[in-house]
Structures are given as C-alpha cells and as structure tokens.
C-alpha cells in the first residue's frame, strides 16, 4: 500500500502548483486541477480502505500498518520524531471521510465561488488544508500529529479570513487562530510531559497496551493527580480547543465568516473532529491508564452538547445555528468516547462515537452545503429573509430535509444509528447521563426543524430583497454534491461499522437497543412536533414564548455571555494587570536600554567618523606610530 503516500503528497503538490500559479491564468484552471487531484486521492483512499479492510485482518483484529516512515529528528535512541503513514481502522476511516467531503466541497465550490476574487487562492488553501488534515489523520506519532495539527490551524485561519477585506472575517480568523493556538499550548505541554516520561512519540508504542512504559509516570503525582493524568488532560485540552468544546468553543461560531463550503469542510466535517480523533487515537491510554480523565471528557462533552444546543435554538443566522449544532454534536462524540471502556463489548461508546463522527461529517457537510445553496440564492444569512423556499429550490429542500432527519435521529437515516449507539453507551455508563443526552437529542431535533421550517416553509412577509432577486435552484454543480451526500446519509446507517472500527480493533456486531431507540425516536419526534407547531406557519407563538422566557432567551441569544466573559478576562484583567505593566517595562526599560545603546554608538561614531577620512597618508601615520609604539613597548616596557 505504498501508494497511500500519494494521498498525502498530491494535495501538497497541488497546493504549490495552484498557490504559485500565475494569476493571469484562468481561475477555472486552478479549480479544475484541484478538483481532479482531490478526485484522484479520493479514489486512492477508497482503494486503500478496501485493501486495508480486506487484507489486514489477522488474529481476530485489524493490524496497524505503516507503509512509509521517515526518521526525521533523532533526540535519543528511543525518542525520535518520525514522519510517516499509519494505517489502522480509524485513520483509514478518516481518510475516506476527509477525502469524500473534500471532494464534494471542491466540486461545490467550483460553482459557489465562481467569480470571487482570489478563486485560485481559495483552491490553494483548500488543498493545503486537505494535505494537513490527511497528514494529521495518518500521523504515526504524536509529534507529527502536532505538526499537522498546527498546519490545519493555519489553513483554517487562512480560509476563515478568505474575505480579508471584511473586518469581521479578519477578526474571526484571528480569534480562531488565537483560541486554538492557546489550546495547542496545553497540547504541546501534554506531549512533552508524556514523551518525557514514556520516551516515545509513537502511537503504536503508546497504544500497544504495554503498561510498563507508564510505570514511572503513573506513580509520580502532581497536585493530587498522577503526572500521566495531567499529561493526558493537557492533551485533551488541545483537542478541546480544536473541537470547540466548552469553554474553548467561542471561535467556531465566528468562524462562519469564512466561505460556506469552507465551513462545511473544516468547521463541520473534518478539522473540528480532530479533537475527537485525537482522543480516539490515544484511547487505550485514556481508558486503561487514566479513566478519571476520560470521565472528565465525558462530562465536558455532555455540558458542551447541552449548552450549545440551547444556544442553537435561538440563533437567527442559519450558519450560526449550524455552528452551534456542530459543537453540540461534537459534544455527543466526546460523551461517546468518555463513557466507553476498552475492550470488545465495553468499547461500544468508542465505536459509536467514531460512527457518529463518520455520519455527522456527511450530514453536517450536507447541511452546510445546503445552507450555502440557500445563501447563494437569497444573499443573506439571516432566516428572517427566508421562507417558502421549498417550491423554488426543490433539490436543496429535499436534501436538507434528509440531513435534518438524520441529525434529529429518525430512522432509517444514518444519524439515528450512530446517535442511538451513543445513547445506549451513555445509558450503560449511567442512566442520568443517558437521559440528559436524550433530552439534548430532542433539543437537536427541535432546533434543526426550527431552522428547516424557517428556511423552507414559514410564509413570512417577503422582504424587498426577494423581489429584486428571484430565488431559483442552484446550478447542477452545487446540487450534485448535495445529492451525493444525501444518498450517503440515507445508506450510511446500514454500514456494519462495528466490523471495521472498534476500540481494540476487533469485531463487534451492532445490535440496536430497542428500548433506547424507541425512547430517542419519541423524543426526537416530540422535538420535531414542537418545531412544526411553532414555526411551520408564521404565527405569534414564538414571540409569546420568547416573552415568557425573556431572561433565558436573552442569555442564549448572547451565547450565555461567554464571549463577554472572555473579553472581560482578557481586556480588563489580563491587559490591565499583566500586559500593561509588561508593556511599560518593555517600552521604557528594554527599549530604553536599546535606545541608549543606539544613542551612545551614534554619538561615538559621529566623533570618530573623521578618522575614516580616505586620506591614505593619515592611515599611514596611524599605522607607523602604532607600529613604533608597539615595538617600543615590547622592547623597553615588557
């Protein structure tokens, strides 16, 4: 499977080609080249996946396989940084997800971004992102993962700030970069702690189940927890930053300033699940060595899911609704991982979480692309400007509905199966967690259908915008990816996922827990029903409800003031008490010292400038006297 390397190198090459391409070339050329490249690597990933899952099953489990590895930095005999490709069930699964969604987004963007300034730049960045994300998922060691982790951060920054003339986009890009970078600081600290004590970066070594390497690190304690727990918690914080878990979620809603296909690719399907992938990657360590950290992950995920689902219910910008929905769903995945145990049947949550990652990537990309299609037609992000679109945009409407049903958890759509597994695992872990999660699933159904009805049904008075731009269906290049993704969403639930991805790489047969399934379907139907009553037709019920829960509504609209708290913390507390004194010190003491040096040398050089006169005889005088003086000193003094 040496060809797997091509999957990684082709996007990089493509990034260089399109990035360095002469802008006088037709923008379309860049788009076509990139799309073809992505199509090729998508095919290659499918081939890789097929070959991996058919040939690498030995002794009751899938064997990890490293087709290529390069020794890059050698610190000690055991501690080396390598670059390579690691193929195992989750990385192969991620390869398929990333390339599929990326291909769809590339196709979709050909039409969506048509005529934009910087079209080829957009494609170059997309390729860079694809390269980085693929590098992240196939990383053989945690350090390589960290490198690509930062690279996806950079490409995310570049793409959020794609419309660099818009101040909001620039601010959002900065915010995303700074917040994730802040989290990555903890990630790095965790990596260093872990590798310092275990003397290895390799995932294969770390997850081999060999507990000996954790002997020293497990017995050391720091502030009440073992050093290993601290390291793993720090690594999780890095993942939480990328995956926008509370309280590091603040960048994701703002990241919606980027082009919509980018939101679909990066901020819904692939990059934001990197945190989930990271925890899944190190899962044996979490589950066996530090279960307490894993439980922390579960509760963080649970709170994030609840918190952002509530906010999603009141947002009016459709992309922000989807953004909060994404945060909420990532919370689901984290809960799935957190409640899971290690082993064949204990690992239900793990399997469910990655299954949900897979299905969510598909239907959330579909939702974003559908939203992009709507925005493309209406030229607005706000649901107040929409309504009654189901007749005018039939394809978008149908595919969007499929995705909504999937995320709401209605069978036979894919989301039902994966979410149901997570719920089952949660009930198995602790019933209260299960019930809360079921409630959140209901909320999910409610806010998704609120969104759906507001876009496609609600007969609000048409705004003036409508009259000027007659709304019609998007071109075929945009609807094709929607249809493909909708088909995937329809059938993905029937994939026997447990035969491919499990916590111990063995086989696991999914069996629906009908009790859980029935209750979750009922809750989802209740959520949909409520949304239907409130939003199907234009009425005053939502307004009255809003008045009744004025306080809660206000708080949720302002996203529970988390951004304000951050602003207060950074601007008022950090700036005033730390940055300002430091800035004063820097400006007056450090710079002052430098200025003093500069002034002194300036004055001195003005004085001694005359020596450098260009008159050779002056030099000769100096030379002669110096020679004589030295000779005299050597002779008579020394």
């Amino acid at each position: 499977m040496q060809y797997a390397l091509v999957i990684l190198l082709l996007p990089l090459l493509n990034f260089l080609v399109t990035g360095l391409m002469d802008t006088r070339w037709k923008a379309r050329v860049a788009g076509t080249i990139s799309t073809v490249a992505i199509a090729v690597i998508t095919l290659l990933s499918y081939v890789t996946a097929y070959e991996y899952f058919t040939t690498r099953f030995q002794d009751g489990s899938y064997q990890a396989f490293i087709p290529f590895e390069l020794n890059w930095l050698r610190f000690t005999d055991t501690l080396q940084v390598k670059l390579g490709l690691l193929l195992d069930p989750i990385s192969v699964m991620m390869l398929v997800v990333v390339t599929t969604v990326s291909l769809m987004v590339h196709l979709y963007s050909l039409s969506y971004m048509k005529g934009e300034r910087g079209f080829e730049r957009y494609y170059a960045f997309l390729s860079l992102f694809t390269f980085s994300m693929l590098g992240l998922v196939v990383a053989t060691n945690i350090f390589q993962m960290y490198i690509f982790w930062e690279l996806v951060g950079v490409s995310s920054y570049l793409l959020i700030g794609f419309y660099y003339t818009r101040p909001a986009a620039v601010a959002a890009a900065k915010k995303a970069f700074i917040v994730t970078r802040f989290a990555d600081l903890f990630f790095l600290a965790g990596i260093l702690l872990l590798s310092y004590y275990t003397q290895t970066f390799d995932f294969t070594a770390l997850t081999s189940g060999d507990g000996r390497m954790f002997g020293t690190i497990g017995s050391l304690t720091f502030m009440g927890g073992s050093v290993l727990s601290w390291a793993m918690a720090l690594i999780f914080i890095g993942g939480a930053g990328k995956s926008a878990l509370f309280p590091l979620h603040i960048w994701l809603p703002d990241a919606m300033e980027g082009p919509t296909p980018v939101s679909a690719l990066i901020h819904a399907a692939t990059m934001v699940v990197a945190g989930v992938y990271l925890v899944a990657r190190l899962f044996p360590v979490y589950a066996v060595q530090t279960p307490e950290v894993l439980h922390g992950i579960a509760y963080t995920g649970l709170f994030t899911a609840l918190f952002s689902a509530v906010i999603a219910c009141v947002q009016t910008d459709i992309k922000r609704v989807l953004a909060f929905s994404t945060i909420s769903q990532i919370g689901f995945m984290m809960v799935g991982l957190g409640v899971s145990g290690y082993g064949a049947h204990e690992g239900l949550g793990y399997m469910a979480s990655l299954f949900h990652l897979f299905t969510h990537a598909m239907f959330k990309a579909l939702l974003f692309l559908g939203a992009g299609s709507v925005i493309h037609a209406v030229h607005s992000n706000s649901m107040d400007d929409m309504g009654q679109l189901r007749k005018r945009m039939p394809v978008t409407h149908l595919t969007f509905l499929v995705a909504c049903l999937a995320i709401a958890g209605i069978p036979p759509f894919s989301g039902f199966f994966s979410k149901d597994e997570i719920l089952a695992a949660a009930f198995h872990f602790s019933p209260p967690v299960g019930w809360i999660l079921s409630g959140i699933a209901g909320l999910t159904a409610f806010y998704m259908f609120r969104l759906y009805y507001n876009i496609f049904w609600n007969d609000k008075p048409p705004t003036s915008r409508h009259a000027e731009h007659p709304v019609h269906e998007s071109p075929a290049l945009m609807t094709l990816p929607l249809i493909v993704l909708a088909l995937i969403t329809l059938v993905a639930g029937f994939i026997p996922f447990g035969r491919f991805v499990t916590s111990d790489r063995g086989l696991y047969t999914i069996s629906l827990d009908w009790q859980v399934a029935a209750s979750s379907i009922l809750i989802a139907l209740a959520g949909i029903g409520l949304a239907t009553v409130l939003y199907r037709r234009n009425n005053d019920k939502p307004a009255r409800l809003k008045l009744k829960f004025a306080g809660l509504h206000e708080a949720a609209t302002h996203r529970f003031y988390i951004d304000e708290i951050y602003l207060f913390l950074t601007k008022k507390v950090v700036f005033n008490s730390i940055s300002r004194p430091l800035a004063w010190f820097d400006r007056h003491i450090v710079d002052g010292f430098m200025n003093l040096l500069a002034t002194v040398s300036n004055r001195v050089s003005v004085r001694i400038k005359g020596i450098q006169s260009g008159h050779i005889q002056q030099y000769a005088w100096v030379f002669l006297f110096a020679t004589l003086a030295i000779a005299g000193i050597l002779l008579f003094v020394v």
Binding site: Q612, S613, G614, H615, I616, Q617, A620, W621, L624
Partner: protein, 113 residues
C-alpha cells in the same frame, strides 16, 4: 669565481653596516610616503622600502646562514612582486589621472564612500 677575493676581506664589513644602510633606505621611504603628495613619489618611497627589505634578506642570509639560500630567493621573489605591484599601480595612476586630471593623493579619496 670571486671566492678568493671576497673571503679575505669580508670580515671587515660587519653585518650591522648593511642593516644600517637598509634602515636608512627604509626610513627614507617611510618619510617620503608620509609627506609627499604625489602618488608617483609615494610609489617611489614604497620601492625604496622594498629595496631595503631585499638588501636585509640578502645580507642576513649571507652572514648568518651562508649554507642556505632562503633569503636570496626571498629577495628574488620580492623583486618580481615589486615589479608586478609597480606595473599595476602605475596603470591605476594613469587611469586616475585620466579621470581626475591629477595624481595628488588628496584628490583620490572617493573610495571611502
């Protein structure tokens, strides 16, 4: 051929005498280099200094290490190098004179910028 003549009388001329002569020549060169404004005269001074060095090489070689000939060859090579140096220097002077209409050293100071 001249061995019989020289061996008898050589002892009467001490080494210091040669060195004194070369010293005078050398410091005359130093003086000229320091005070003359014409680059040609400065070059002449340099030649004087080189010549003094040659004489020293030869004399010291003859007196202190008569069985060797390093000083002799050094003097020989120095003469060749002096010829090179003079040729290039004079070429530069001619060029400078063409551009500046002068061979005064004070006028040739633009290289400092």
């Amino acid at each position: 051929m001249g061995e019989s003549i020289l061996t008898a009388s050589q002892a009467y001329i001490p080494l210091e005498a040669y060195i004194l002569v070369s010293l005078i020549m050398f410091f005359a060169g130093v003086y000229g280099f320091l005070v003359r404004r014409s680059v040609l005269l400065m070059l002449i001074s340099v030649e004087l200094m080189l010549n003094a060095a040659d004489l020293n090489f030869a004399a010291i070689n003859r007196y202190l290490y008569p069985e060797h000939s390093e000083g002799f060859f050094f003097a020989l090579f120095t003469i060749a190098i002096a010829a090179c140096e003079t040729a290039v220097a004079i070429a530069i002077f001619i060029n400078a004179y063409r551009n500046l209409q002068s061979v005064k050293v004070n006028s040739i100071s633009t290289l400092k910028e």
